[in-house]
């Protein structure tokens, strides 16, 4: 048994040595993201592939391994394969379920790889070398600030939430803290699962239930699109406005056109995956020091700055 262990240990050392030697001329970066199960993750897949294509032409010595997984076990298997069979030097990962994946990602780190975590915080600190994320509490706070400013005398609002996961809670808490002390009343909040059809259903029922709604916070543009149809069906588009989030092209277009129903949006771009891949690549290729936390602002997008965020080629 002991012999086997020491054999394995020496194999690992030998492996990492050759890995280090190889890394001098050829670098492999693994990129693992969740499958495109809604609009935002669809954007993540698109921007990841776009960044990989661009960087692969710029740096012929960098090889990328890309994998997209529908659930945590598959994503764990993906990164294990990347380490054991593809010999990656660095991992860029957007963990679908960060709590379930923390220990698997830690193993990659323990094997001496450079680890970049995107968007979702792992359950223990200090695993990743680099953390790139959007500002979830800020997304809530910016939406709250806009609604507070637009309704100086207060008023009734409803909230359509995402899925019951930490990101949603951070956004919700940020929002509730933001409207504290104002005369804004939250009539109710329900989960709409970051999904158009559910956004439509929940909004229809809110409209049935509440005769007076001044604003709707959906915190996601997919939900907004469903809610918009429900509001139009009820013929109440003159009574309220919607604040979404994420920066979907369709909504940005409406914001740019000065649509009264969607006057603003709050950015939370899936392009953050591209930022993470770029930073990781420049670290491996150019030796640039990138360790740390990069939080991309959740900017309020209005009619004035919407043009900066428009990108007709984006599928999101």
């Amino acid at each position: 048994m002991k012999l086997v262990k020491s054999l394995m240990a020496s194999a690992v050392i030998a492996g990492s040595l050759t890995g280090a030697v190889v890394a001098q001329d050829k670098v492999t970066i693994g990129v693992s993201v969740p499958a495109a199960d809604h609009g935002w993750t669809g954007g993540v897949n698109y921007f990841a592939q776009q960044a990989i294509d661009r960087l692969a032409t710029t740096y012929p010595d960098v090889e990328f391994v890309f994998a997209s997984a529908p659930d945590a076990p598959k994503q764990i298997a993906d990164i294990e394969d990347m380490v054991s069979t593809r010999g990656i030097d660095a991992l860029v990962i957007l963990p679908g379920d960060p709590d379930a994946m923390t220990s698997a990602i830690k193993q990659v780190k323990d094997a001496g790889k450079f680890v970049t975590v995107v968007d979702r915080q792992l359950s223990i600190d200090g695993v990743e070398d680099l953390y790139v994320a959007g500002d979830n509490p800020g997304l809530g706070a910016n939406a709250a600030a806009y609604i507070k400013e637009s309704l100086p005398d207060g008023g009734n609002i409803v909230i359509l939430r995402g899925l019951p996961i930490p990101i949603d809670q951070q956004r919700f808490d940020g929002f509730m803290a933001g409207i504290e002390g104002s005369n804004i009343t939250v009539l109710d909040d329900e989960f709409a699962n970051w999904n158009r059809d559910d956004g439509f259903k929940v909004m229809q029922d809110f409209l049935t239930r509440f005769p007076d709604i001044k604003a709707v916070w959906t915190q996601d543009d997919d939900i907004s699109l469903g809610a918009i149809e429900a509001i139009k069906q009820a013929g109440r588009e003159g009574e309220m406005f919607i604040v979404g989030g994420a920066g979907m092209q369709q909504i940005l277009q409406a914001v740019a056109n000065g649509d009264a129903l969607t006057p603003v949006d709050v950015s939370y771009s899936p392009a953050m995956i591209a930022t993470a891949i770029e930073l990781t690549t420049s670290h491996l290729v150019g030796g640039i020091h990138v360790d740390g936390r990069y939080i991309l602002d959740s900017t309020l997008i209005t009619k004035d700055n919407a043009a900066e965020f428009l990108d007709p080629s984006s599928p999101f």
Partner: protein, 334 residues
């Protein structure tokens, strides 16, 4: 629907006792309606009722197809993904036809025809694999469920397929408008339900489905063409998914990988709540309609109240579903 009570087969006992198997789903529906009324005064408003029924019509139409499939001892898990891919292709076809046909009903009708045709083709594929390929229905439709879901993700490039804005405006009334104030989805749902009830009860096809589901060998010896009848149930299911999608697309004018997620489970749940047996042999279309409406009302009621934490929505749904079935099965052996 008045024909429902007298000719239910295999009554548990003769005599005075209320036949729970028949009234069970209706009782559950009545209780749910009472709960709704007590929670919100707008529950019985015309707008709320048409909202809920129109929303339920997609699942309802699909569930009527599923009633035939399940009665004949089969299962189709692919309907949700099938709906998504049909919606996606319909949108692509309509967008593609605009330059040649211009904006108008022509494009929409071509899109609708595509939808029905695709549904039929998908049904033929499922049915052929099951009846001629001799593969378990569960496996075939689990496979096509994955295939259809990936196809729509691929076609949409991971994002969302959106119908051209002007065509969407032409198509919109199909979901939002109606006849004498009753939205089209509800009318179509009702027509499909009535047609389904007639086919299930008064045609040879309906009786063959029940015969095959209760005992395939006996059905075969009775010179029923088991394979063809089964194949037909899957084709019918596919076509009805197509019909449901025709009504779904004008609602939001888009399709993505999230379209129709878990519709298969909702449809199957609706069928079972309505009193059809999951192992086949006995099917009841009007029950399926009640089952689907129950499911629709549960979601509606949850949104109309704030007593139950939204974290517990799933639990509430689960309790109601189990209760609804318990009401009709509970005293069967008493």
């Amino acid at each position: 629907m008045s024909v429902s009570a007298p000719d239910i087969p295999a009554k548990p006992k003769r005599g005075f006792r209320l036949d729970l198997k028949t009234v069970g789903p209706l009782l559950a529906l009545a209780l749910l309606v009472l709960l709704g009324i007590s929670l919100n005064e707008n529950f019985l408003s015309y707008n709320n009722l048409t909202n809920v029924l129109a929303r339920s019509s997609f699942i309802g139409i699909i569930a009527i197809g599923a009633t035939f499939v399940i009665t004949a001892g089969g299962l189709d898990l692919s309907v949700g993904s099938m709906a998504a891919v049909i919606a996606g292709v319909m949108i692509m076809v309509m967008n593609w036809l605009i330059p040649t046909m211009g904006i108008g009903w022509g494009v929409v009708i071509a899109g609708m025809a595509t939808g029905i045709l695709l549904g039929g083709v998908a049904g033929v594929f499922n049915g052929t694999m099951i009846t001629r390929g001799r593969i378990e229905a569960f496996i075939v439709t689990l496979g096509t469920m994955g295939i259809f879901r990936s196809l729509v993700t691929f076609l949409a490039d991971g994002g969302t397929l959106s119908l051209n804005f002007q065509v969407a405006d032409v198509y919109r009334p199909v979901y939002y408008a109606g006849l004498l104030g009753v939205p089209w989805p509800i009318i179509v749902f009702a027509l499909v339900a009535i047609g389904g009830e007639v086919v299930m009860r008064y045609t040879a096809f309906g009786r063959y489905c029940a015969a095959i589901g209760s005992n395939e060998q006996v059905a075969r010896y009775s010179s029923i063409n088991v394979d063809n009848v089964r194949l037909l149930t899957y084709i019918l299911q596919g076509v009805l998914v197509g019909v449901a999608v025709l009504l779904y697309v004008p609602r939001l004018g888009s399709a993505s990988s999230t379209t129709g997620v878990l519709w298969e489970l909702e449809a199957i749940a609706g069928v079972i709540i309505g009193g059809t047996t999951l192992k086949g042999g006995y099917g009841r279309i009007w029950g399926t309609v009640v089952g689907v409406v129950i499911l629709g009302l549960i979601g509606n009621i949850l949104n109309l109240q704030s007593l139950i934490s939204p974290y517990l929505n799933g639990a509430f749904q689960g309790v109601i579903i189990i209760l609804a079935v318990l009401l009709q099965r509970g005293r069967k052996n008493a």
